[in-house]
């Protein structure tokens, strides 16, 4: 058993000729809340998507609880794991997306139950109980029967978070979950995430909300041109950036409430 929940080692990812991740290393312990900041195109989202194999990667390794994600390395040979194995590994992490991606033909509670019934093989009754608990937790118990089209953006995102976390992942991944929301709906989503942080949930959060990153994180990672530019304690980083690049980035990213 590893000391670390997540070990990213020398992660390389290219889209065609464009190298997006140029060797990322990151160690994360259980219970940590890490915010990933950086300008567009710096590789934040791509790194997140590699962790649950929504993107293949060309080199390096990702381990969750000591388990190699996506690829098997035998000597020099590197082989993508079987699709069914990758499907199982994806459920080790939960992911919330910028565009929510709720299933529009299912009610809120059916969205949350689908993975529980089909991937976790819970009975419908057990799944319903879990789903109701999480919908309650994100403040949407009374919206359980509503369809995504009947919910506001903030409510949809909260359902999407409930859907991901109901699967009881070891690690939650948040990919710019407030970027598509109207400003007045941002805080209800951030409150939910703060609540999860208070529970000790391990989370990797890609965000443009600097104040939120400052308040919620145990550590901040600044991505710059496919590499980790700087990382450390949020107070240190925001108040005394060590690199020119981070200082510049923070100046252009307003620290709004």
């Amino acid at each position: 058993m590893s000391d670390y929940l997540l070990e990213i080692c020398n992660l390389h990812k290219s889209f065609g000729a464009v190298e997006v991740l140029k060797g990322v290393d990151c160690l994360m312990r259980a219970g940590e809340v890490i915010s990933v900041i950086g300008s567009s195109g710096s590789g934040k989202t791509t790194m997140l998507r590699c962790i649950n194999m929504l993107e293949d990667f060309q080199d390096g390794s990702i381990r969750i609880d000591g388990e190699d994600i996506g690829y098997e390395v035998l000597g020099d040979a590197r082989r993508r794991k079987k699709e069914s194995e990758i499907a199982r590994q994806r459920a080790l992490t939960g992911m919330a997306f910028q565009q929510f991606n709720l299933f529009p033909h299912m009610s809120a509670i059916d969205n949350v139950m689908l993975g529980l019934v089909k991937a976790k093989r819970l009975t419908r009754e057990a799944a319903r109980a879990v789903a109701e608990r999480w919908l309650d937790r994100v403040g949407l118990r009374d919206r359980a029967g509503h369809y995504p089209g009947q919910l506001s953006g903030g409510q949809q995102q909260r359902v999407a978070i409930a859907r991901a976390i109901a699967m009881n992942p070891k690690l939650m991944l948040f990919d710019e979950v407030t970027s598509a929301l109207d400003p007045e709906l941002v805080s209800e989503v951030l409150q939910v995430i703060k609540g999860l942080a208070a529970d000790g949930m391990s989370m990797l959060i890609v965000t443009h909300e600097m104040r939120f990153a400052y308040e919620v994180s145990t550590r901040v990672i600044f991505m710059n041109q496919g590499r980790i530019g700087e990382e450390g304690d949020p107070r240190e980083m925001f108040n005394r950036p060590r690199t020119e690049r981070l200082a510049e980035f923070l100046k252009s990213s307003p620290f709004t409430k």
Binding site: N52, L54, E83, A87, M95, F103, G149, Q150, A164, M167
Partner: protein
Amino acid sequence: MEFAAFFDQAWAARVAISKGLGTTVAVSAVAICLGTILGVGVGLALTYGVRPLRWLARGYTDFIRGTPVLVLVFASYYVLGTVGLDLPPFEAGVLALTVFCSSHVGEIVRGALQAIPTGQTEAAKAIGLTFAQTFAYVLAPQALRQILPAWVNTAAEMVKASTLLSIIGVGELLLRIQELISRTFLSLDFYFFAGVLYFAVNYAIERFGRYVERRSALPT
């Protein structure tokens, strides 16, 4: 009193007319059903098939869609006979319409599946669903709603295309009507009558489609 003559003749030929209408409905229904089953396969091959299979499906749909239905009818009745597959008119006609239907359904299915945002597949993957599960519970239900209007349209096209089978001697509605006309010379009346019957069949199909569409609409 021409109207009275028409009604007398139509009444006298009621058995032939209803049999013709029955054949039209039967040919269309069988071709739509088989064509849809085959077409879904073609659509899946176009969307998810490995490259050679996808090319094969692409060639098939492009070729069939670029060929007049009449030519398909002749081909399955006359040309297949020369290679030893001698089909009776009804079967040959059903085959031609089935092939025609499948190429259209294939394109409709492909279009509907590709119109679903990739985020849907990603969200399904992220909760640990396999591809088969993703398809069954996430993609197919959304694609079906998308397909319905175009599919109803294709079904109506099949009913209209079935008139072409009169040329190879399938006793469907148009052939029966033409036989009546050659006996009675009431061409205007009987062609108009045939038009009304075809309209009734297609109107029923369209109403049914609307009904299913309403029933399956997502609440907003």
